[in-house]
């Protein structure tokens, strides 16, 4: 952890708004990015706001034993998983069915043809990712999109190293299966 981050967290823990604002501005990218990948763009904003409320409430508990980013990843993933479970149970109550989440990808502004093809593949991947079990999806996002090690995953997901590894292994296989099913459904296999 950088000295600056440590200093900012200590000041924020004492109620210093300016220090907290700097933490929010510097790390909001990480929170929003992970939330968008686990929950999809449409729910990322609400989840990100909830993450920062939790950070403010709990910043006194952060002792600097791990990097601030690790602590932030942990809060972000927990918030996203809770939000996902809440949404699943709400949908189950309302519709009585297990609807899979379909994330909405942002627009791509490059060459239209390439962008359309890339956008289509991207959409397909994110749609398939939405069909992977939430814990496995979080592990995949941290491992293959955030580039974290298994030791970091274990710390963030609060599970033993072997479990974190198992979630990534299973998540990858489930994503591949979901992708091929998606291709078959779309008739592009």
């Amino acid at each position: 952890m950088t000295f600056e981050d440590y200093n900012l967290t200590r000041r924020a823990a004492r109620g210093d708004i300016e220090a907290f604002s700097r933490l929010v501005r510097e790390h909001s990218g990480l929170v929003y990015r992970v939330a968008a990948r686990i929950l999809g763009d449409s729910d990322a904003q609400d989840a990100s706001q909830e993450v920062w409320i939790r950070v403010w409430r709990n910043i006194k508990k952060f002792r600097g034993e791990s990097a601030f980013s690790t602590w932030l990843y942990k809060i972000t993933v927990n918030t996203c998983l809770s939000s996902y479970r809440r949404e699943q149970s709400r949908q189950a109550r309302e519709i009585g069915d297990d609807l899979s989440y379909l994330p909405v990808p942002p627009s791509i502004e490059d060459d239209p043809e390439t962008a359309a093809l890339a956008g289509e593949r991207r959409e397909q991947l994110l749609r398939a990712l939405g069909r992977v079990r939430a814990e496995h999806r979080a592990a995949l996002v941290l491992r293959h999109m955030e580039g974290l090690s298994y030791a970091e995953l274990a710390q963030i997901l609060e599970v033993p190293d072997g479990t974190a590894k198992g979630w990534v292994y299973r998540g990858r296989a489930a994503l591949l299966v979901a992708l091929s099913e998606d291709s078959l459904e779309g008739g592009s296999a």
Partner: protein, 113 residues
């Protein structure tokens, strides 16, 4: 041909191979499988494409809506205000209580005298 009860295990193993997460010995085993079985080769290629796409999405940096930052800071300001107000009123309350106890002490001393 990949099939049977350990299909899922082989699928996971090929995924780990594509992600370069296996030991040299395990890598050799999977390479042999890929050489022997066209389906295993197809799976390894699919995994590589999938991991490349995941990595490419991971490289993207979505823009954070300003509303997220504003909301977080606003909530902290309000919370800090109430925290300070609470501390202030608790302090005033403690001071009054102290004064009251002191007063009671004086009265007790006066009536005893």
């Amino acid at each position: 041909m990949i099939g049977g009860q350990d299909h899922w295990e082989i699928l996971e193993r090929i995924g780990a191979y594509a992600a370069s997460e296996l030991s040299p010995e395990e890598m050799r085993e999977v390479e042999q499988l890929i050489l022997d079985d066209p389906e295993a080769l197809r799976l390894a290629e699919s995994y590589l494409r999938m991991l490349a796409m995941l990595g490419a999405i991971g490289e993207e940096t979505p823009e954070v809506p300003e509303a997220v930052i504003d909301h977080a800071i606003r909530r902290a300001v309000v919370s800090a205000f109430f925290r300070q107000a609470e501390d202030f009123f608790a302090g005033v309350g403690r001071a009054y209580l102290g004064a009251f106890v002191y007063y009671l002490g004086l009265r007790a001393a006066g009536s005893a005298g």
